[in-house]
Amino acid sequence: MAEITTTVALPAQGEALLELGGVTAGYGAGLILRGVDLTVNRGEIVCLIGPNGAGKSTVLKTVSGLLTAKDGFVRFAGNDLNRLSPRERLGLGIVHVPQDRSLFPGMTVWENVEMGAFVLNDRALVRRRLEEVTERFPIVGRRRTSLAGSLSGGEQKQVELARSLMLDPALILLDEPSIGLDPKSRTAVFASIAQLTEDGRTVLLVEQNARSGLAVAHRGAVLEAGRVALTGAGSALLEDPEVGRLYLGASAAGKTPRLDAAAPAAAAP
């Protein structure tokens, strides 16, 4: 059992950290991703939007290693990820926060956060990280002895974000962090996400709630039928009439908007 390395030479701020080229992937025989090209630069928040089934979550899985790309390349700081196990990718500093509740409901909040550092063996380091994370996410300290399953959805999401920081990751993959949250919790979660890049972290975010996602992101990418159909600055995509019509539920030319359930709350004055 080889020990994992927790350090890798990262590119300079603003240069390509994660590169996907021609990535195809799927479950069983079918393909979900049909040639995804995407670059995420260091220090950026990139938001992937797109309809259900476009393959947004699948992109994240090919990066974290829960799914292996069948074709194409996935590179992280110049390293080819395709052959690496999820554990090895964690060691490189890639942490995935999946869509469904990923905490262990029967363990306490504190234990769950500690679990985020499962692959580390340096206890002093783990303790230090726990302190840092608790400072940043006060809920970890406040509810440390509560069972994770007894927390509300929004609280659990905060704990999941806290847990993801235990490995001091360079890249955080967030899958639908706002799903199932009330507007107040959602605001708190997006505020936490915006903070993540302050210390040089990079975030690849998947959001069904496109308006909030793009608002917090530096750049956005629209995924459609397994390909990246459109990329641009987050604000530019927000103003793009076509994107607005299809994904934001706003009507640019007076056509009937396709409302997604979360959009009206986000759009309310």
Partner: protein
């Protein structure tokens, strides 16, 4: 993880000291015989618990490895056992060999989960039993295979077997304790809760499952070896007996899966109960009914096993004593042991 609690060590020390003293204090023969089988089942259930309890894989095929360990002793010591202690010295070799042998088996079986895993492993049991019946050159088939009788003095004849079983139980419990206190136990707890989530935080899921399976099977084989040497005659239907598999599973369930003392408690209730009922109801099948009744009653009132149910009840009482201001899910609602909490969360 956490240091071994002093109270826990003391408890274990007293328990094993008592076990060690029983023959010396002049226990009658019937008591010692009953205890040999009780301690044997406690060891089997504790070993089973490594994979069935901590990892959450309910194997029904463990007796296959028990049988293999038994036949290993029978094959090597058909004619002579020398001073009588040589078979015990072979046990570590059997443990390691069977542990290694079980890895490919586990690798295939553990690709399935829960009830499918139970069915796959019970198939293993019957395959092994069929092989034992048919590989006549090795096993003597239905004619059975005898182990050379040990030259132990009559008055202390049972002692070596008794102490061998006690040592096996101590090893199984020490390994359980080591698992619980190390990252292995933590890994197994995450595997038992949710293998996908375990993958996500970097647990080596397959490796840790196979480790638990191999250690568990190796221990069971060693106990099988002691058993074969004690009973002296190995028949396929008794060495690879579904009742032994069911015994170890029931005892672990009864006492509490995924706890250190649960399997031991289960064995110390069920084996004497079975002996008592067999005495009381004689050769009729009634004793099996009584045996089943004990089990049903306990499952009705303490469905998750004795230890988890009791510790949960105590925790609830403590919570109630603190008054209504306490929110659920705080310290008091936590059962003592993470595995129990995992179970409670299901």
């Amino acid at each position: 993880m956490k240091p071994v609690g002093r109270a826990g060590l003391l408890r274990a020390g007293i328990f094993f000291l008592l076990l060690a003293l029983i023959p010396v204090l002049g226990a009658p023969g019937w008591l010692l015989t009953t205890l040999i089988f009780t301690v044997m089942y406690a060891g089997l259930a504790s070993s089973w618990n490594l994979v069935g309890g901590y990892a959450g894989y309910p194997s029904l095929g463990h007796v296959a490895f028990f049988g293999i360990g038994a036949y290993a002793i029978g094959l090597v010591f058909t004619n002579s056992v020398g001073s009588g202690f040589e078979p015990f010295l072979l046990l570590p070799v059997i443990g390691v060999a069977v542990g290694l042998l079980s890895i490919p088996v586990g690798w295939i079986a553990m690709r399935t989960r829960a009830d499918v895993f139970a069915i796959v492993t019970i198939t293993l049991l019957f395959i092994t039993q069929t092989l034992a019946f048919n590989l006549k050159d090795l096993t003597g088939g239905a004619q059975g295979k005898s182990v050379a009788p040990p030259p132990f003095p009559v008055e202390t004849f049972d002692w070596p077997f008794y102490y061998a079983m006690v040592v096996m139980l101590a090893i199984a419990m020490a390994i359980s304790l080591y698992f619980r206190r190390s990252k292995i136990g933590l890994s197994l707890a995450t595997v038992r809760a949710d293998e996908d989530k375990a993958h996500g935080i970097g647990v080596r899921v397959t490796a840790v499952k196979l480790l638990a399976f191999a250690v568990s099977c190796g221990l069971v084989a060693m106990i099988g070896g002691v058993w074969a040497y004690y009973v002296g005659f190995i028949y396929p239907q008794f060495a690879v007996d579904p009742l032994i598999t069911i015994g170890m599973v029931l005892m672990a369930f009864l006492g509490g899966r995924g706890t250190l003392w649960g399997p031991v408690l289960g064995a110390f209730i069920l084996v004497p109960a079975q002996e008592y009922f067999a005495q009381t109801f004689g050769a009729s099948e009634l004793y099996l009914l009584a045996y089943a009744a004990v089990f049903i009653v306990i499952m009705l009132f303490l469905p998750r096993g004795i230890l988890p149910s009791v510790s949960e009840r105590l925790a609830r009482r403590r919570l109630a004593a603190r008054g209504p201001g306490e929110s659920p899910g705080t310290d008091a609602a936590r059962p003592v042991d993470p595995a129990v909490r995992m179970e409670a969360a299901r």
